[in-house]
């Protein structure tokens, strides 16, 4: 069943630059996206603060100019909503983002009543673990779904096969977003409460490493979010992706040269570079952690990439 679909429709695999998960200053965001607009080999860029509502007042002002800048460069812009809204300001921000006129990516079902009936995207923070959930969201207007990072690859294939009309996307590069909390770990580490956090998470633009007592690199914290220490590097061949029914990959922004990362992935997806070449080139970059890809191999997510 998978093979017939594969041969009939070999469109170019899309490449998305996901939302910045870290607390970057407006200036840093401007510089970052200016270079993305001009040089990155991605066709879609997500903007918006998805981790912490407290950061939103600082960045709200930059998005309009960045939308214009990126669209002028030919990128499709998507507005990603907050993953864990709960106070009224945050809830309103989610709804405003969905009504802004750009394509919205929902990361929590708070936004669903607002977007239902028109095309929207579903982010990796929404629990789509099976074809039934995907079908339900598609029925409400979802045209693309970035699946949860821990979803086994076998499930990805089943879901994508069941809904050929939906563009399925996988998280392919960056520290894996593993958990969210009501508690801010950056604040806790610095002896502060979330309400008076002093925005200390801005000191760690790739997240703050969390090691085990035996010195193993394990996780990273980013305010209320916990990420992997390892950097996901899912590097499939175009044939692998066609077999899976996955039509888009997501690169998650880090301080590493994301233009270089985007070019490596584009070459991989276009069949111009092998998996081994791509991984070797990624490894040579200044990454915050080891390359991992266990979730895409039916292993614990922390399993290291095997180069061969």
């Amino acid at each position: 069943m998978l093979d017939t679909k594969k041969s009939t429709n070999m469109t170019k695999t899309g490449l998305t630059l996901g939302p910045v998960l870290f607390n970057w200053s407006p200036d840093r965001l401007r510089d970052f996206y200016a270079r993305i607009a001009d040089e990155a080999d991605v066709d879609r860029v997500h903007l918006g603060e998805v981790v912490c509502g407290k950061r939103q007042p600082f960045t709200d002002g930059v998005w309009p100019e960045l939308i214009e800048r990126l669209q002028a460069a030919g990128k499709q812009v998507v507005l990603s909503t907050l993953a864990l809204p709960y106070n009224p300001r945050e809830r309103n921000a989610v709804i405003d983002f969905c009504k802004a006129g750009e394509l919205a990516e929902i990361n929590d079902l708070t936004a669903l009543p607002t977007v239902a009936g028109k095309p929207f995207l579903v982010g990796p923070f929404v629990n789509v673990y099976n074809e039934g959930a995907a079908r339900f969201l598609a029925g409400r207007g979802a045209t693309g779904i970035c699946l949860p990072v821990e979803l086994p690859i076998a499930s990805v294939a089943v879901i994508a096969a069941a809904l050929p009309e939906v563009e399925f996307e996988l998280f392919a590069f960056g520290r894996l977003p593993l958990a969210l909390s009501g508690r801010c770990y950056h604040a806790r580490l610095h002896g502060l409460h979330k309400d008076g956090c002093q925005f200390v998470c801005d000191r760690d633009p790739d997240g703050l490493p969390v090691d085990t007592l035996d010195g193993q690199r394990f996780l990273a914290i980013n305010g209320i979010q916990t990420l992997s220490s390892g950097v996901e590097a899912f590097c499939p061949t175009p044939e692998d992706l066609a077999k899976l029914g996955v039509r888009r990959l997501r690169l998650s922004p880090h301080t590493v040269d994301m233009v270089a990362v985007s070019r490596l992935y584009r070459a991989l997806l276009d069949g111009r570079a092998s998996r081994t070449e791509t991984l070797a080139a990624l490894k040579a970059l200044d990454l915050p952690g080891e390359l991992v890809d266990g979730f895409t191999r039916g292993q614990p997510g922390s399993a290291r990439v095997e180069m061969a």
Partner: protein, 329 residues
Amino acid sequence: MSLELVCPAGTPSALRAAVEAGAHSVYCGFRDETNARNFPGLNFSPDELVEGVRFAHAHGTKVLVAINTFAKAGAMDAWKAALANAEKAGADAVILADLAVLDHAATHHPNLRLHLSVQAAAATPEAIAFYADTFGVKRIVMPRVLSVEEIAKLNAAINVETEAFVFGGLCPMTEGRCSLSSYATGKSPNLTGVCSPPEHVAYTEDKNGTATRLNGFTIDRFGAGEQAGYPTLCKGRFVAGGKTFYLFEDPVSLNAASLIAALAKAGVTALKIEGRQRGKGYVAEVVRTFRAAVEAIDAGGTEVEVGRLLSGLVEGGRQTSGAYKKTWR
């Protein structure tokens, strides 16, 4: 209306213990991946559930069946069977999290009362209204991220019942949104109904004491005589920013007993006790104590009286009122 006490039943004998100790409702799950407490040796067969419901109903206690994991792609039959078996057994409600399972239940089991599991992490009026309007959900088990003040505001903005955890294990992470366990072990609450699964837990003695490891990752280390916790990943000791400490959560359990009256005032319908993995002795004691406290509050008892009733439970381990007080964050 009096607060409803919702109590854990990991096994048929724990169910009987909870019922006899005065639970208004018990919650339990089937012995498979359809419930988020899929630990070896726990839970109910369909026949045991039939018997459990019969016993509970004979004592005027309701039975809520947790079918609160996310159905596996291409293999939804186990979840469908769980819904059918819960209805056949006469369950008073099912506790669900997955959109696909909710959709199936609403379509094929219209007479089954639906509760939304904490695993669905619905914390806003908009999300809750969506579940209520779309699937007819009657009650929300609230994510453990809200303060009492926020719960009061939430209750004012929604028209379904709310259920709040008051005692037992505490997830510092938003439930249903956590993949830490699968990052370390390949198994997680959302995928397989287990967190930090025991088959990946190992204790190693060395010259520095006992190391507890989860699939090779050192989660904690203890000297002789130091008390150990179950090696749940987020309750471990780690090194971050030059400090070695319990980064995510201290090895504490939730005890919101002192907030029962405040939760009632905030409009909460039901109080939930965590602990389907706990023994019947523990369950009976906690249930009996909370039942007495709830009745004391109903009778207009003072905080002092309620505090005295619950003081026995505070002995031993360390406890926290969690997110119900904003300073926890």
